[in-house]
């Protein structure tokens, strides 16, 4: 099973990469990295990192608020103004109300409502912390972005994806964001110079991890039976393809030949060693390193069940869906100095 899965994942990765290349994202990993490397040489400040985070929170807050309430965050009273170019949110053709998910499961609806509120609070908190330095909400696309990503999920033959169509679609849309939020805050934490900012970033990172843990647990649980997407296992396969795509787009899967999954673990099962016995089956609800030499008693290694950290460049590559400087969820790019 693991071997089969690994092979399948390899195929997905290779295929995704080909398709990305076909789309014109030539050597996107290195391009993005080198582009950002030059930007980074002009020392980034805490405000730059917080604004980077604010852009991501605008994205998340709008996604969840539309899903839960059929409204964009400005309709909920959140100001969008600030430095940079203010943009609008591209929503389904019926407008914001058409984005409210027709929830069949009241628990999933509750989760959407909770996460929406928390992401709006993050926007408000960061805007308050940044004051006049806060960036405006950039242009956000919640339609073409998902459709484009769907076509990149090799092996699934998806031509489009509507995250607002059903419970499970909404959860998979959430899956796209939450693990990325975790890795973004984890990567930014050591770059912050102010203890206060670090403290806040760690606190938001933890909340994003709560969200990710929730979303992954619920998807995996629902996927034990048939969902509107298909028979048991279908939703997990989509989630795993999303993970593989993220690891491909951010270049991490090519960093180490011994970790083909790169910095992103999909939903499924793994074989783990506990107390010297190596044949225990375990879930992968946590998106973290769980394989490696450290699994032998008394040994050292690089695994350690730690979540992954992504550089800003890697996060940008994902939210731009492989584009350079813009694309995907941010058709005009982010506002601020990290973009």
């Amino acid at each position: 099973m693991p071997t089969q899965e690994t092979q399948q994942l390899d195929d997905v990765i290779a295929s995704s990469r080909r398709r990305l290349l076909a789309m014109g994202g030539v050597a996107l990993g290195s391009v993005v990295f080198s582009k950002f490397a030059s930007a980074q040489s002009a020392t980034l400040t805490d405000a730059d990192y917080l604004n980077f985070a604010l852009n991501l929170e605008y994205l998340e807050a709008n996604f969840y608020t539309l899903a839960a309430s059929g409204q964009t965050i400005d309709q909920m009273g959140i100001s969008l103004t600030g430095t940079g170019t203010q943009g609008t949110v591209t929503v389904k053709s019926g407008g914001p109300t058409a984005c409210q998910v027709p929830f069949a499961n009241t628990l999933v609806q509750s989760y959407a409502t909770e996460i929406a509120m928390e992401e709006r609070n993050h926007v408000t908190f960061l805007r308050g912390a940044l004051g006049s330095a806060a960036v405006a909400q950039p242009a956000i696309d919640l339609v073409n972005s998902f459709n484009g990503l769907a076509t990149l999920l090799a092996g699934l033959n998806l031509s489009s994806f509507d995250p607002f169509a059903s419970d499970i679609n909404f959860l998979l849309g959430s899956y796209i964001f939450e693990d990325v939020g975790v890795t973004a805050y984890t990567g930014a934490a050591p770059e912050l110079t102010s203890s206060t900012n670090l403290d806040a970033a760690a606190g938001i990172q933890g909340v994003e991890a709560y969200h990710a843990g929730l979303v992954r647990t619920v998807i995996f649980g629902l996927d034990q039976a048939a969902t509107t997407l298909g028979p048991p296992g279908t939703a997990s396969a989509v989630a795993t393809a999303i993970s593989k795509l993220r690891a491909t787009v951010d270049g991490s899967n090519s960093i180490s030949s011994t970790r083909a999954q790169g910095d992103d673990i999909g939903l499924g099962t793994q074989s783990v060693a506990l107390n010297g016995t190596s044949d225990f089956t375990a879930s992968t609800l946590v998106n973290a390193t769980t394989t490696g030499s450290i699994n032998a008693a008394g040994s050292t290694g690089t695994a350690g069940s730690l979540v992954f950290a992504r550089t800003a460049a890697q996060v940008l590559a994902i939210v731009y869906a492989g584009g350079t400087g813009m694309g995907g969820f941010f058709p005009a790019g982010l506002n601020g100095n990290v973009k």
């Binding site: 908190f125 805050y185 670090l198 403290d199 606190g203 909340v207 990710a212 929730l214 783990v272 609800l285």
Partner: protein, 297 residues
């Protein structure tokens, strides 16, 4: 569910027992067992002379506790000598959880692997500075906690999956707040990154456990919130009442996750109220190993 109905007389007696080892018993503890969940201000931070090594060893103690709990729940056997620094185990209690489904077993095994990895990671990072595993009690601790929560005279988290979820619930949110509180105190960026990476894993766990409890229904939610009330009282608030719209434990206004000082964490794992000089109790009957083991406030 094998939780017992509260036994008033035994409960009040044993509630006092839960406080043994504390030099100071706060009124708030006894009054607050019902389930206050608001956040409060932090207590005075621990001595500033502590080093990264001290904080990592503090974390290692907590990881020993979690690893022993989950490994025993998963396999019936705890950490081996190579992972504790002790020739024989100093942990008592714990057993493989009975009657679990394959899916539930997969969940337990995953967290067991994660916490085992955390022990190994921290021991490797600390190398010769790593503390050995202290004495850990997985029997009397849960009984005392149950009594403090008004849940009966005994509680065994290893007898069913529902009980296991409550046992896990006790630890995970605390782990999150402990790592969050420690992050800004670490001076070395590598250590900070590692702490942040473990912090998030604990939050994944906490969310998974909290969402599974919510899925199990109102009875188990009520049990969890009774436990949370005790944690809140001992640990300076920093709790969000568990509900279908309260999966995440975070500040209600900013939605920033909670953090706790080392003192607040010690008070929880020692099962004692506020006050300086608490040296051990409940999960760690002989206290933690390392320089962070006695409360300052």
């Amino acid at each position: 569910m094998t939780l017992k109905i509260p036994e008033t007389i035994d409960g009040s007696l044993n509630r006092r027992g839960f406080l043994l080892g504390s030099s100071v018993v706060t009124v708030g503890f006894l009054a607050g067992c019902g389930g206050s969940s608001s956040s409060t201000t932090s207590t005075t931070p621990t001595s500033p002379s502590l080093t990264d090594t001290d904080y990592l060893n503090f974390a290692l103690n907590l990881e020993y506790l979690e690893a022993e709990f989950y490994l025993r729940a998963a396999t019936g056997t705890g950490l081996g000598a190579a992972d504790t620094g002790n020739s024989t185990s100093k942990t008592t209690g714990g057993a493989q959880v009975a009657g679990v489904t394959t899916l539930q077993s997969d969940y337990i095994n995953e967290i067991a692997q994660n916490e085992l990895d955390h022990v190994r990671f921290l021991r490797a990072a600390l190398a010769s500075s790593a503390v050995a595993a202290p004495a850990i009690d997985l029997t009397n601790s849960f009984n005392a906690l149950a009594m403090a929560a008004g849940l009966g005279s005994t509680f065994d988290p290893f007898t069913s999956y529902a009980n296991f979820l409550i046992g896990a619930f006790i630890f995970e949110d605390v782990g999150v707040t402990a790592y969050h509180g420690a992050a800004k105190l670490l001076t070395n960026k590598t250590n900070l990154t590692a702490a942040a990476e473990i912090h998030a894993v604990e939050a994944y766990h906490a969310a998974s456990i909290r969402s599974q409890i919510v899925l199990a229904g109102s009875a188990l939610i009520a049990t969890a919130n009774a436990v949370e009330g005790v944690r809140s009282t001992l640990g300076g608030g920093n709790e969000t009442t568990l509900s279908a719209t309260g999966i995440v434990a975070a500040n209600a206004t900013t939605s920033i996750g909670f953090e706790r000082t080392t003192d607040q964490v010690l008070h929880i794992v020692y099962g004692t109220g506020n006050g300086a000089g608490v040296k051990g109790g409940t999960f760690f009957p002989s206290g933690l190993n390392g320089n962070i083991s006695v409360t300052n406030s």
